[in-house]
Amino acid sequence: MNSVDEILDFAIEREQAAADFYQDLAERASSAWMKDMLLSFSKEEMRHKGKLKSVKKGEKLLSSEQQVQDLKISDYLVDVEPAGDISLQDAMIVAMKREKAAYRLYSDLASKVDDPDVKDLFLGLAQEEAKHKLYFETQYDDQILRDN
């Protein structure tokens, strides 16, 4: 995996996998409203996928120098097992942690390659994932930590 297209294909696949993950979870969900929620997560991942597809067509990715704010909310939360009766709060924790993991993955990959173009691409993807995480963290802050 060293050409730009290959890397993007990999990333696109990962977003698709994430969408599938939420889709699958939604199908197992016992209540109507959580099903709805998880499907919206899935839709969010599909949106990310669309974004990467247009990057492949030549759209600019976030510059690797631009730092996305890290609210660090997910860092100290306990891990959650995704199950059919998952609560909203837990579903959001899962989402935050998955985005964080993706961010780490791309950051690690970036540190392991020498080609400056490829390195830049990985860092850009990492920032993209950080943005996704910020989205979920902000929602978590507003919806779950209303009074805090």
Partner: protein, 595 residues
């Protein structure tokens, strides 16, 4: 006739050599005195369009008009005064009474224009040569046409309050209420902001006139929880009261209470004249909180048979179980609820949807259903060690206290959160003799709790530690205690304009040990009882209903409201949701509302 008398007039000649008094206008300009009442200037950004200038103008020289590019927003009507200089007499009463002090005058003397319509202008918005001039008439600091100080209400001294659950605020005397009501400028900005759009200036007027019966009738047009709201309303009306710009806003909430306190419950029916003529249709309401019972009241008045399903043993919802009695005594909540029930509203207690009754049954058996189930599932911290037995939920503590159970908080308590539940949990703990520390992730100014609650909590001796983020809960050396690890936070602005976000500073961590930790960081709802088959017919977002017009959902029989369907999550919004849904249900059942 003396010679002197003949010569004397020639004294005038000496003046012939003096410097002339007159000035050569317009070559020489003579500036007006610094406080000269010249032409009007209005600082558009400071003006809130309350229209008090228009009210006081005895010449009707002022019209409140829309200004291009200015949108109405909470606390700002979006209107600005337009002056007719064919009528103005330059008395500057408008300047004197201006609630924001945005209205002023320049010290400009003359204005010449060929077009007489120019003399009709919007101060501050139209481009006038004197805009921005340094001097001109301003209201003097020591001169007031409006009283900025609120009439103080007698309250229990904090040390007294801590001894019991007695109501802290004592209410206004008749004279105090009149005095406070006198401060109103009747602009109506409050009406626009109040979620229930209560006719605030009208009922304040009844306080001034001492006509409490009329006042009660006005209150019940929009709010059947007036005794409750007169005590614990989040009073967004007061935040926009223009009198607050140069002083304290009107105590609108206390004035509502002043009316209700003066009318005995037994006389409600006679004064309100509520007659129920059954129309044969049946409506089910889920949740006997403010939203549900408000809908029940307005539906019942229109003759609907109303059955309320309530999971708890008593009615009132969060007002009963979430608001301690020192803020809202039980008998005051009962006053509101009893009257609603006296109209023939049936309440089935200890009945939970999905357990005793199924959702589908409601939809099938009733002509319409209104759901206002509230948010009663506390969000949990989800940090490591949270399942420690000494970590309690704020809601549970309040529920215990409301049910006369001892929550057992111990002597040293940390409360996590900055909402009203957190404040109440803290104050309840103080009343049980504990030392209380409130840990909050943001700053005091960011707290969602009512300012009064924050203030009273502080007065009662709660310690506030702000910008503190809990990261872990650990066992303490003593098994009856618990240790919390928290880190300091820096605030960062939200890019999208939301509230500022705290960011953990990992190098600044603290550890403290308490007898218990009360977590009150927010609540969520549970909609688990709605079977999956209804998913396509009901819209959800972040765990809440998304209502359409008149609180209706795509499942036409289902109307929703209250905390589970709005983002404000307060009693007054729930009351309005209930009222609005009642209107919607009536329209729906009379065929007027076609979804």
């Amino acid at each position: 006739m003396s010679l002197k008398d003949l010569i004397s007039p020639f004294y005038v000649w000496q003046r012939a050599f003096e410097k002339p008094y007159t000035q050569k206008h317009p070559i020489q300009e003579r500036p007006g005195a610094p406080r000269y009442r010249g032409f009007h200037v209005n600082v558009l950004e400071e003006c809130v369009g309350c229209g008090t200038c228009e009210t006081i103008c005895q010449n009707h020289a002022i019209d409140m008009v829309q200004v291009e590019g200015l949108e109405p927003k909470p606390g700002d009507s979006g209107l600005r005064p337009k002056f007719d200089y064919g009528r103005c007499c330059w008395c500057a009463l408008c300047v004197d009474i201006c609630t924001t002090r945005s209205l002023r005058m320049s010290n400009h003397y003359a204005w010449i224009t060929e077009d007489p319509t120019d003399f009709n202008f919007i101060a501050g918005a139209d481009n006038m040569s004197w805009n921005g001039e340094e001097y001109g008439y301003r209201r003097d600091d020591d001169y007031h046409l409006l009283r900025g100080e609120r009439v103080k209400m007698e309250m229990l001294a904090p040390e007294e309050g801590l001894k019991s659950f007695e109501e802290v605020m004592k209410g206004y005397t008749e004279e105090q209420a009149k005095d406070e009501a006198d401060r109103c400028v009747e602009c109506g900005l409050c009406v626009a902001t109040c979620p229930a759009h209560m006719s605030i200036p009208d009922y304040i007027k009844t306080v001034r006139e001492g006509d409490y019966e009329k006042g009660l009738r006005i209150l019940y047009e929009t709010n059947p929880f007036s005794s409750t709201c007169g005590r614990i309303c989040t009073h967004r009306c007061e935040e926009v009261c223009p009198v607050g710009h140069q002083g304290e806003p009107l105590a609108i909430r206390w004035l509502k209470r002043a009316i209700v306190d003066r009318v005995p419950r037994e006389r409600y029916r006679e004064i309100l004249g509520d007659e129920v003529v059954e129309n044969g249709k049946q409506v089910a309401i889920v949740g006997a909180g403010p939203g549900g019972l408000s809908a029940a009241y307005y539906l019942r008045r229109q003759g609907y048979g109303v059955t309320v399903f309530e999971a708890q043993a008593r009615a009132g919802g969060m007002l009963r179980y979430g608001v301690p009695s020192y803020r809202l005594p039980d008998n005051q909540l009962d006053k509101d609820i009893e009257y609603i029930r006296s109209l023939g509203v049936e309440v089935r207690f200890n009945t939970c949807i999905g357990r005793e009754v199924q959702f589908a049954e409601l939809i099938d058996d009733y002509d319409a259903v209104f759901m206002a189930i509230g948010l009663n599932v506390p969000s949990s911290l989800r940090v490591k060690g949270e399942d420690h037995p000494r970590v309690l939920s704020g809601l549970q503590v309040l529920d215990d206290v409301a049910s006369d159970k001892n929550p057992g908080v111990g002597k040293n308590v940390a409360v996590i959160g900055g909402g009203n539940v957190a404040m109440d949990a803290a104050r309840v703990s103080r009343r049980m003799g504990a030392n209380v520390t409130v840990l909050y992730r943001r700053r005091i100014a960011d707290m969602p709790a009512d300012p009064e609650e924050i203030h009273e909590s502080q007065a009662e001796g709660c310690t506030f530690v702000t910008q503190a983020i809990p990261v872990e809960i650990k066992d303490a050396d003593n098994p009856d205690q618990v240790t919390i690890v928290w880190g300091e936070a820096e605030m960062v602005a939200d890019e999208k304009g939301g509230r500022p976000r705290p960011v953990l500073q990992e190098d600044r961590m603290h550890e403290e040990t308490y007898d218990c930790i009360i977590s009150a960081i927010g609540q969520g709802g549970s909609l688990d009882f709605i079977p999956g088959d209804y998913r396509d017919q009901i819209e959800f977002k972040w765990g809440k209903f998304v209502p359409g017009d008149y609180q209706q959902t795509a499942l036409q029989k289902l109307f929703v409201g209250g905390d589970i369907a709005n983002n404000t999550a307060d009693a007054i919004s729930a009351i309005e949701d209930g009222h609005h849904a009642a209107r919607g249900i009536h329209k729906f059942l009379t065929g007027e509302l076609v979804a």
